[in-house]
């Protein structure tokens, strides 16, 4: 069912099975028929762990969305609330419980906190007089959810905002807990590297937690060699730039949520003769995107400009395969052909879908505005005219292009100039407030607090030093047959991934100077292993590094890491973990504040 999770170097199905087992055990504690009341935000991530069929096997008969007043009628023995530990949700639950119809059959209430029980929330339930109504109050430590064979996410929407704006480390604590769970399943990770304030905190918490757990000695042979913890604010640049990989562009244009994307239906109309194309579907086409789909696995991380040729090659192969039927003469040959049909048809369906998606994307990427925007981004990233007001941004504001697009560009310019001159910054801000409304002053404050938008201090622009030392801008990029990670942004090599690459070879000692310019401490910790568990690497065997992005990671960065994993002489394979899968738009949006 989730075979694609076991394709990678590390079998993430082990984790999925572990969390599924935990879920089943909880459901079985509440004997009898059940209804689940969902904190709506959780349904997406849960879908990656357990389909409805699993819940049904454990007598879940109804599902509701958590909302105020009385619960819908359901003839079940148990009502289970699946919620994040948030005070506002506790208030709703209390309302539900208090307005329960006492004349009806008595129903048992339970709460499952995801990912952690909270004393604060239980106190609130107690204050509201309903704590005693719950028979089971448990936690479901679903911290890291497996998305793909090499990808884990906490899907914690506001993690970046909480960490960098509100100094709230809750998500870091969950991240550390998630890492402890991983280590319980995959062995102690012998070396921890990190860069950034949050990374330091997570490492501290891990070391502390390990001390708490000593005694229950972990005797699993370590699967991961290294852990690299990276603060998102060490590299604010990468998410701001437009991703140019296939998957990255799908996310930029349509938004991928919990591995699903919703697409305009027109392009997916069934092409049958005689229909006359009358009944165009009106509901969005929903597709799941992961490496379980062979074709998608092949093209997702390619630069979009290299996708077309793959698709047309695939088309030829598939139609050739279908032509084979004319050559099938004997009964045996026909049988052979028929047995391959399902696979061929699936491949044809997959090809049709991706051809349609590619067409949709192409409409966007060939537009003049996309080209203009990309040109400006690339100028900024390569260090051209970053210190003055940009006329394209000015025009975007004047034409009231989406605010997020404008903010993204202004922030990009600010980051590429180590902050803007006060005059330039004030000009942009004033233009934005006058055009989009004064209320966005709160959003601007947030961006400034997060360091995305700031005045240049000390009159010094450090970005060129960083760019040159880390080779962030590559002029000779090969989009078709890439030789460097910079292909994911057609020229810009994501800083975060470059740091990972340099760590594995030749080591960070070579870039001490740049590391000092970037925010937060960099560090290395060792977790001693008993001698019996120490790894003896076979010659030519790659290391496995778990890289954890605190504050979010983009698909383009993931693509770049996968590119490094696949390099023949790379020496390192990566498994990626993050608090949230983000893109520039969703990221900026999480920092926006709308007072009305």
């Amino acid at each position: 069912m989730a075979a694609h999770l076991s394709y990678g170097r590390v079998n993430l199905n082990v984790l999925r099975e572990a969390v599924r087992r935990e879920l089943r055990e909880f459901l079985d504690k509440c004997a009898g028929s059940k209804a689940i009341v969902w904190d709506e935000y959780l349904t997406g991530p849960f879908g990656l762990i357990a389909q409805y069929s699993l819940l049904k096997e454990h007598e879940v008969e109804k599902m509701f969305t958590l909302k105020g007043s009385r619960l819908p009628a359901a003839d079940v023995k148990n009502i289970i609330f699946f919620v994040r530990p948030r005070l506002e949700l506790m208030d709703i639950i209390a309302e539900n419980v208090l307005s329960e119809d006492r004349r009806g059959p008595a129903r048992d209430f339970h709460i499952l906190f995801v990912p952690r029980r909270s004393l604060l929330c239980e106190q609130r339930l107690k204050d509201l007089g309903v704590l005693g109504s719950f028979i089971h109050r448990e936690e479901y430590s679903l911290d890291l959810i497996p998305f793909d064979g090499d990808l884990l996410s906490m899907e914690s929407e506001s993690a970046f905002k909480e960490c960098y704006l509100e100094s709230d480390q809750t998500s870091l604590y969950h991240a550390a807990k998630g890492l402890m769970t991983l280590q319980a399943l995959y062995g102690t990770i012998p070396q921890i590297f990190g860069k950034g304030e949050c990374a330091r905190q997570v490492a501290n918490m891990m070391i502390r937690m390990k001390r708490e757990f000593t005694g229950s000695q972990n005797s699993i042979f370590p699967v991961f060699d290294n852990l690299l913890l990276l603060d998102r604010n060490v590299d604010l640049l990468s998410p701001l730039a437009t991703q140019l990989t296939y998957e990255g562009l799908i996310d930029e244009i349509y938004g991928i949520q919990n591995s699903y994307v919703k697409l305009p239906p027109e392009k997916f109309a069934p092409k049958k003769q005689g229909d006359g194309g009358k009944d165009l579907p009106t509901e969005a086409k929903k597709l799941q995107l992961n490496s379980a789909e062979e074709l998608y696995a092949e093209i997702r991380d390619k630069n979009f400009n290299a996708v077309g040729s793959v698709l047309s090659k695939k088309a030829k192969v598939i139609s050739a395969a279908f032509e084979e039927r004319h050559n099938a003469k004997t009964v045996g040959e026909i049988k052979q052909f028929v047995s391959q049909l399902p696979h061929m048809q699936a491949a044809r369906g997959s090809l049709a879908n991706h051809t349609s998606i590619a067409e949709l994307i192409k409409d966007v990427t060939t537009s003049e505005d996309f080209f203009d925007k990309l040109t400006v981004e690339q100028e900024f990233m390569s260090g051209i005219d970053t210190d003055k007001v940009n006329s394209y941004i000015e025009d975007c504001i004047a034409q009231k292009h989406p605010l997020i697009k404008v903010l993204r560009l202004v922030c990009l310019q600010s980051v590429c100039n180590s902050g803007l001159k006060q005059k330039v910054l004030d000009y942009y801000k004033r233009e934005i407030l006058q055009t989009y409304g004064y209320e966005h002053i709160l959003t601007l404050h947030n961006l400034e607090k997060a360091g995305l938008l700031k005045p240049q201090t000390g009159g010094r622009n450090n970005y060129p030093t960083i760019r040159k030392t880390l080779r962030l801008w590559m002029d000779d990029v090969n989009e078709q047959n890439p030789t460097d990670i910079s292909y994911v942004y057609s020229g810009y090599a994501p800083l975060s991934v470059r740091l990972a690459q340099l760590l594995s070879r030749p080591g960070w000692r070579s870039i001490e100077e740049v590391l000092r310019i970037l925010p937060g401490p960099h560090f290395e910790e060792r977790q001693p292993l008993p001698t019996g568990l120490q790894k003896k690497r076979q010659p030519g065997e790659n290391r496995v590094t778990l890289i954890f992005f605190l504050g979010g990671v983009t698909f383009a960065e993931i693509a770049a890491l996968r590119f490094l994993s696949q390099l023949e002489d790379g020496g390192t394979e990566y498994v990626i973990a993050t608090t949230k899968l983000i893109n520039g738009a969703s990221w900026i949006e999480s920092l926006m504040e709308k007072p009305f």
Partner: protein, 733 residues
């Protein structure tokens, strides 16, 4: 080999028994045993003696002494009995001494004579007094059964969870039964009693007569009865001098290891023989015997190819442990079967109970038990004992404990600290908590001890925000507001968490927090939010914004202050516009306000507004262009385009006209587009031929390809050729 079985005595047809002396008792008894109440705990446990002054006529002034000995007679405790008359003594499974008083009160003592607690067997017992009592063991724990003066039985099957059960009456019972005992069947405790020649079984509902099968006739009374520890076997002693035993069969031990080895081997029984030698060694009490049996097994093993070694190794280990605890100084004469049933964990507990920590640790290390189950647990017990030594200073106790325990995995310092706190040693508890690595364990105890501030810093260290919140809410109730705020001020992480809490739960407090910290920037933002959320009336909104602007000035954020003042001006103006013109203006951006004015034909007011708020020229041109095109007011647009030289060029004019599908108007502006964008403009209005001419004239390759890509219609053939020719020519040069 015969010597091994020399002391075996036959018991019935198929079983044997033997008797041997375990210890020559070390005690120095002043009383005759028969004058004492005696209780020996099962499983090699301790022995309690209480001289019984209530049965014999003795001077009442002399209080009896309760003495406790190990099974080898080593004195463990001795105390003067100051309570009431005792009828019976017995040991619970946890090795607690239960003393049943005549009034039905049961006093519970520890192994070292320390008083633990007491409980009563109920009113009925109190009124009728206790005639006789039995302590018995079930799978739930240890129970007490009472025979009262009214010849009724009351029992509790588990003294740990006291539930009294009064048993039904025995019909016709006028005097005490000649003998009785408790029997457990199907997890329920019953009473078996003998009255004359009859036997009765009492359960909680009824009394039924029972007859032992095959009992020799002529019995008129049963003198004694005994049940086996497992309740599976029963022995009755009759007045006719017989002992009746129900299915009593003792395990027969094997003694087959001898020099007829080859014969056995031929019979293929060698593995079995070796195994039996090993087992037999386990059941031997004397090390010499154990050794010779094990040697025999080891010898036999040599002739076997594949005899798994673990049973031999395990037996050697078990015997070493058993011999160690059987030692006279320790005095726990466990049999092998008892040891196996008890488990090593319980044996360790019993050593801990006797404060034999070093031996317990040696055993753990010898058996290589995981630290959490073994050494750590024992050290923790030792530490709990240590904190009760009140004559040692807090410093010394804490240091001694930490020296011994260090970072031993699995040791719960908080448990030890809780014990110290329980003994009233708060300071010691705090010192011990310092060594506790789990904050989740530290914090609740610190709160309980009213060390909230320390609890707060511990919670912060852990990174567990929920824990921090818990302490914060605790502190908030405990401290006055000023102190609470001061505490927060010293803990930035807690402060930011509390701010988040207030943002959602207590807005006013949030403001106070910002005020306390002179955080004017955040105060400004706070008032901006308030201007949207709290205020409906325009005056209120403006006032809130004024406060915000003042805060921004204090924060030296000139830009925000000015922007806020502009917004106040705009709000007042929008209100006036709504009054004068109707329609909706409030909360539109400045840009949209100007656009709305243009769309409603208020060009003059629009101009005025743009001037007042200094909208940059370029944006104003875009704004007007867009608004006029929306209105499709082409005349006004043309007038506007000619008002002065456009700061945004003329291509946007072409684009916007084409967007409104007005090619005619678009063409007017295409001619005015500057040379750089000319080709683009011409292509937009569909004039491919002219676009080609311009591109060729510019000798611009990019422009030429652009035009070429637009040459799609049949009429464009000539144009395409023209470009191709120009290109070819350019290449020649």
């Amino acid at each position: 080999m015969d010597c091994y079985t020399a002391n075996w005595n036959p018991l019935g047809d198929s079983a044997f028994y033997r008797k041997y002396e375990l210890y020559s008792m070390d005690w120095d008894l002043k009383e005759e045993l028969r004058d004492c109440l005696v209780a020996a705990a099962p499983y090699g446990g301790p022995i309690a003696l209480l001289r019984n002054p209530w049965r014999k006529e003795k001077p009442a002034s002399a209080r009896p002494v309760l003495e406790i000995y190990s099974a080898s007679g080593v004195p463990l405790a001795s105390l003067l009995w100051k309570s009431g008359p005792v009828v019976s003594l017995g040991w619970s499974a946890e090795e607690e001494l239960l003393c049943v008083q005549e009034d039905g009160v049961v006093l519970v003592y520890g192994l070292h004579g320390d008083f633990r607690r007491h409980f009563s067997m109920g009113n009925e017992v109190l009124q009728n007094r206790v005639l006789d009592a039995r302590i018995f063991h079930t799978e739930f724990g240890s129970g007490v059964a009472i025979l009262t003066g009214a010849h009724r039985f009351t029992l509790s099957a588990n003294v740990g969870d006291l539930k009294l059960r009064r048993m039904p009456e025995v019909p016709g019972l006028q005097s005490a039964p000649s003998c009785w005992t408790t029997v457990c069947q199907d997890r329920v405790a019953h009473i078996l009693l003998a009255v004359g020649p009859d036997l009765y079984l009492l359960d909680h509902a009824a009394c039924s007569a029972v007859t032992p099968p095959g009992l020799a006739p002529g019995v008129s009374s049963f003198l004694q009865m005994a049940v086996s520890f497992t309740y599976r076997h029963l022995a009755l002693f009759t007045d006719t001098g017989y002992i009746w035993m129900g299915t009593a069969s003792l395990k027969k031990e094997s003694q087959k290891a001898d020099e007829y080895l080859r014969e056995i081997q031929e019979l293929g029984q060698l593995p079995q023989a070796v195994q039996q030698c090993i087992e037999a060694a386990g059941h031997e009490h004397w090390p010499d015997m154990q050794k010779s049996l094990l040697r025999a097994a080891s010898f036999g093993k040599c002739f076997l190819d594949r005899f798994p070694p673990d049973s031999f190794v395990r037996m050697c280990q078990d015997l070493r442990v058993l011999n160690a605890v059987r030692d006279y100084h320790i005095g726990i004469p466990l049999t092998y079967s008892q040891y196996k049933q008890l488990t090593i964990q319980v044996l360790l507990d019993r050593l801990v109970l006797r404060r034999l920590y070093p031996l317990a640790i040696q055993i753990c290390e010898y058996l290589r038990l995981p630290e959490v189950q073994g050494v750590s647990r024992i050290l923790a017990h030792w530490a709990c004992y240590k904190v009760q030594q009140k004559d040692v200073s807090d410093e010394d106790v804490a240091r001694a404990i930490n020296q011994k325990l260090g970072d031993t995995p699995g040791v719960s310092y908080s448990d030890i600290a809780a014990r110290a706190y329980g003994c009233g040693r708060t300071e010691l508890a705090i010192k011990l908590l310092e060594y506790e690595p789990r904050s989740g364990e530290q914090v609740p105890l610190l709160l309980k001890m009213k060390r909230s501030k320390l609890a707060l810093s511990k919670a912060i260290e852990s990174g567990d925000t929920d824990l921090v919140f818990t302490v914060l809410l605790h502190l908030k109730n405990e401290l006055n507001r000023g102190d609470f705020f001061m505490t927060l001020r010293n803990q930035p992480m807690a402060l930011s968490l509390y701010r988040q809490f207030c943002k959602h739960q207590e807005l006013e407090t949030l403001k106070d927090l910002y005020n306390q910290d002179d955080n004017h920037q955040e105060l400004g933002s706070f008032h901006i939010r308030a201007s949207y959320a709290a205020e409906e009336r325009i005056e209120g909104r403006v006032a809130a914004l004024q406060t915000a602007a003042d805060a921004f000035y204090k924060a030296k954020n000139e830009f925000a202050a000015k922007a806020t003042e502009d917004q106040m001006r705009l709000l007042r103006l929008q209100r006036r516009l709504e009054d004068e013109l109707g329609g909706r203006f409030l909360d539109l951006s400045l840009h949209d306000t100007v656009t709305t004015l243009i769309l409603s034909g208020q060009n003059k007011r629009a101009e005025q507004l743009a001037r007042d708020f200094r909208i940059p020229d370029k944006r104003l041109w875009w704004l007007k262009l867009t608004a006029l095109a929306d209105l499709e007011d082409w005349e006004e647009l043309e007038k506007f385009s000619k008002s002065k030289k456009s700061p945004i060029g003329y291509l946007p004019f072409v684009e916007i006209c084409m967007k409104q599908h007005n090619k005619y108007e678009a063409k007017k502006y295409a001619s005015r587009v500057g040379p750089e964008q000319k080709v683009k403009a011409l292509l937009l209005v569909g004039d491919v031929a002219q676009a080609a001419d311009v591109a060729i004239e510019h000798r611009n390759e990019a422009e030429m390809s652009l035009v070429l890509s637009h040459c799609t219609g049949a009429t464009d053939g000539a144009t395409a050729d023209k470009i191709q020719r120009a290109r070819a020519q350019a290449q020649k040069k």
